[in-house]
């Protein structure tokens, strides 16, 4: 002991990750470059129009992921918990939109055409707006009650406890939806004005690319919602309070902020975003079932982690990035489309290995991790 006093103590004997990480990185990067070289330069199998098509679909799906990811990130930023039931909140919003469309389809507008038009055909834009409003409201309510019932009693418990509670809530909501609405897959409403598959035509190399109306709606609306959220968090009093609670709950409470109310509102906001994402998902993909929220939920969570969880621009970036990787990746690397999730998860692992707190994530302090 005494003999070693002069030299600084050697903290780590062998730093495996120092050796392994570069090897891992070079292997992955090398593989990606090799495949890209093969596909893009040697084979040249795909023309520009394929890439544009994939790019567009990647942006659309990325917008949806980003919206859901923001919900994860907002909650994580404040409570440091993975809201595992967030995908189910989205599912609830999808169903709410579905039922609204079914109702508007059922209402006949008197005196508008012969045979009488249904409300959704007579006022397609109004019914779409209504569906979004209803979906967002219902999801926000679901988020509020989810927090109140499943998470609020667990304030201050060890980190794993709320996670298990969230998993339980997720199971519960999924199965409740299955029991209520049956496990069948239903067709989502397809309003004629923005029918799936129809859209603006874009000519590239004399081949037609359809930019679908639903896709544009999804993308534009998600960007608008994200901007709105960002402005809200940065400029309004509520946003300020949210940031205060996220950085230090105790001090925020001492400054006169009602921490519980802010947490409730955070869940309401993230629920509303998930509801909007759900209705978009339904309109764009045309399907709704009780399992609809699970996969987007997992993906969006991945996106949130990718961007640096707790960081709102990070979630947006992560969502977009994941959407693009998912849609461009398989083609760019010349891999079967079945493996798009493998690519997405692999990219996430690679990024986390080199940037352990995500793309835009701060280096979290010990207590937060």
């Amino acid at each position: 002991m005494d003999a070693n006093q002069s030299s600084p103590p050697k903290l780590t004997r062998r730093n495996y990750s120092k050796i392994i990480r570069p090897i891992f990185g070079i292997l992955v990067l090398g593989y990606i470059l090799w495949r890209l070289y093969l596909v893009l330069i040697v084979e040249q199998a795909y023309s520009a129009e394929v890439w544009v098509r994939l790019l567009i679909s990647g942006l659309i799906i990325g917008g949806v992921y980003a919206l859901i990811a923001i919900g994860y990130t907002l909650v994580y930023g404040i409570l440091f918990m993975i809201n595992f039931a967030h995908g189910e909140v989205m599912m609830i919003g999808t169903f709410a939109g579905y039922f609204l469309f079914e109702i508007t389809k059922g209402i006949n507008v008197a005196g508008a055409g012969n045979p009488p038009l249904s409300f959704s055909d007579a006022y397609p834009f109004l019914s779409v707006i209504l569906a979004f409003l209803v979906g967002m409201t219902v999801s926000a309510t679901a988020g509020y009650f989810l927090e109140k019932i499943a998470y609020r009693p667990l304030r201050g418990a060890p980190r794993l406890i709320p996670l298990i509670s969230a998993i339980g809530a997720s199971f519960f909501l999924q199965n409740a939806a299955q029991l209520l609405f049956s496990p069948q897959v239903r067709d989502y409403a397809n309003p004629q004005a923005i029918a799936r598959g129809s859209g603006w035509n874009l000519m590239i190399n004399e081949s037609r690319i359809v930019i679908t109306y639903t896709g544009v709606l999804t993308f534009v609306l998600s960007i608008l919602l994200m901007i709105g959220l960002y402005v809200m968090v940065q400029k309004t009093k509520l946003g300020k309070a949210m940031r205060a609670v996220a950085s230090d709950k105790k001090t925020a409470a001492l400054m006169g902020i009602d921490v519980d109310a802010i947490i409730s509102r955070t869940f309401i906001i993230s629920g509303a975003l998930a509801g909007a994402a759900g209705v978009m998902w339904g309109l764009h993909n045309g399907l709704v079932h009780f399992y609809v929220g699970f996969l987007p939920g997992i993906k969006a969570f991945t996106a949130a982690v990718l961007g640096g969880i707790g960081n709102i621009p990070g979630a947006m970036l992560g969502g977009m990035f994941l959407g693009l990787v998912e849609s461009l990746g398989p083609t760019a690397l010349g891999i079967s489309f079945q493996l798009k999730d493998v690519i997405a998860f692999l990219i996430m692992i690679v990024i986390l290995v080199f940037r352990p707190s995500g793309l835009l994530g701060e280096v979290l302090s010990e207590e937060k991790v």
């Binding site: 495996y16 029991l179 493996l339 290995v353």
Partner: protein, 522 residues
């Protein structure tokens, strides 16, 4: 009667009313009435509806519960009764309004089953007690009445007299226990633990041969989850690494045994025992490969990376890419059955195999936990930086934890594949990882009895409660939330955290398990 009385009463009543509506919408009331009918000795044929009187019993129980929970702890007796009354009345009002809608649907013969799948006319009819319009009023009256009854029950059972009575019983039980322990000779006291283990062993040896193949199947499932839980606990509970991808390691064990023992796709027939060893080794390699690049990650980041790893393995198994190697989405069928000393395996031998594997796992777990390695893990879990500064090679021990945990997962996977004679990608989904995580947390982290109990509660009970089949996962989810709120430390929490609060100095004696047990019993 004051404002508070009305508020609590109506709030609880509203809540219970909504719950009742939900239960009717998922057809739970029919199931409950059927169960009650079976308990009371009137069997109900499958697909048939129970008699109305059993429905009334269910509603009475529900209404009394509503009244009971509407009663606050403080306030005078009249106040409490009023709270019960208001609770029951609000529930009744909500349910009656709902009944009105149902009645309307019934009268106009509007079929809403396209949207609300459980709401058939027969189900509505029995909920309205077969009285149609009058049923609405009856429901309202019933809930009001039972609300008061529940309130009265709450007043009665929460009264001082009952509390004293329960206290008396508790003391007498404690006295009795004390007397029995005192009367036992010292030898028995000293070896009581071992006698208990011996009895357990005898029970475990006798039961599998007796209780039929279905129970053996359920028991095997529980045992496999116990082994998996031990593996996860080494990663999560001992070394503090948040792992949600244990299904991948489980899959490595299962696929090793399956691929080396089936006619298709490779036609290798290595036999069970060597391939089980290969499975364990493969899982360890998997753990190592997973662990090496991600050593720097912590907390939830580690969780999501392991989740991604699990998904990658599952998708790869499911894809066309590996169909030639692993059989693709169809999985691997006809896995050759193991033999022991020339005897082929049946369900009883599998039960014994699982018991032995479980016993070995538990033994190994305790040995590791109390070794230098185990203490190094615990110190890393408490504070990685400090333990590094005190000379613990954090990375080595973290990797070791992943590898050791993976070995258990591989063992469980190998047994699982052989026992089912089949394994496919769907046996290794994210749900498996989540289930194992739930088993460990619900049972009690770092507590072997807890993990066993958790496996029984989460894997065994749902299999045995086939009656509830449709509602199994719903109840499971609600139960998880409920457990976390009511008993977050788990069903059978470990004794170590208590010691730490009492001022554990970290000396070797304090970590001795025998000492711990002695103290926690005090």
């Amino acid at each position: 009667m004051n404002k508070e009385t009305i508020r609590t009463g109506s709030q609880k009543g509203l809540l219970f009313g909504i719950v009742m509506i939900f239960l009717v919408l998922i057809n739970f009331h029919i199931m409950a009435a059927t169960m009650i009918s079976k308990v009371l000795g009137t069997n109900v044929l499958r697909g048939a509806f129970p008699e109305v009187r059993f429905m009334i019993i269910f509603l009475v129980i529900f209404g009394m519960w509503a009244g009971w929970s509407a009663v606050r702890r403080e306030g005078s007796t009249t106040n409490k009764l009023f709270e019960g009354l208001i609770g029951g009345m609000t529930t009744g009002l909500v349910v009656a309004l709902f009944g009105l809608i149902l009645f309307f649907l019934l009268e106009t013969q509007t079929d809403v089953r396209r949207y609300l799948t459980a709401l058939s006319f027969a189900s509505i009819d029995i909920f309205l007690l077969g009285l149609r319009g009058m049923g609405i009023l009856t429901l309202f009256g019933l809930f009001t009445l039972t609300g008061v009854l529940g309130g009265a029950l709450a007043v009665g059972l929460r009264s001082q007299a009952v509390a004293n009575f329960i206290k008396k019983i508790k003391t007498s039980i404690r006295n009795l226990r004390q007397r029995i322990t005192d009367s036992l000779p010292d030898n028995v006291k000293k070896y009581g633990k071992y006698i208990f283990y011996l009895l357990l062993l005898v029970l475990l040896l006798l039961l599998p041969a007796r209780w039929g193949s279905y129970n053996n199947f359920v028991f095997g499932m529980v045992g496999i989850y116990v082994i998996l839980g031990i593996g996860l606990n080494i990663m999560l509970g001992l070394s503090g690494q948040f792992m949600i991808g244990i299904a991948a390691l489980f899959a490595m064990g299962a696929y090793s045994v399956a691929l080396l023992n089936s006619p298709f796709p490779h036609g290798l027939m290595w036999g069970f025992w060597p391939s089980l060893a290969v499975g364990v080794v493969m899982a360890v390699i998997g753990g190592l490969l997973l662990g090496l690049p991600i050593m720097r990650l912590r907390g939830d980041y580690l969780g999501i990376v392991t989740l991604g790893f699990g998904e990658i393995i599952r998708i790869l198994l499911n894809s066309d890419l590996l169909t030639d190697l692993t059989g693709g989405p169809r999985g691997i069928q006809n896995i050759q059955q193991p033999t022991f000393l020339g005897m082929p395996f049946n369900d009883v031998s599998y039960a014994y195999l699982i018991i032995i594997a479980m016993a070995v796992s538990i033994f190994l777990y305790y040995r590791i936990e109390n070794s230098r390695t185990g203490r190094a893990w615990l110190s890393i879990k408490e504070d990685a930086l400090v333990s590094q500064a005190t000379g613990v090679d954090v990375q080595k021990y973290k990797l070791l934890a992943l590898c050791v945990g993976a070995a258990f997962a591989g063992l469980a996977g190998g047994i699982f594949a052989a026992r089912n004679q089949f394994t496919g990608p769907n046996d290794h989904t994210l749900m498996v990882s989540i289930n194992v995580l739930s088993v460990v947390i619900v049972g009690g982290i770092n507590s072997i009895p807890g993990i066993i109990l958790g496996s029984f509660a989460l894997r065994g009970l749902p299999e045995l409660l086939r009656e509830l089949e449709t509602y199994r996962l719903l109840v499971f989810g609600a139960l998880l939330v409920f457990m976390m709120i009511v008993r977050p430390e788990g069903l059978w929490p470990a004794s170590r955290p208590d010691l730490e609060e009492k001022g554990n100095t970290g000396l070797k004696e304090d970590l001795d398990p025998e000492e711990n047990e002695g103290r926690s019993d005090d």
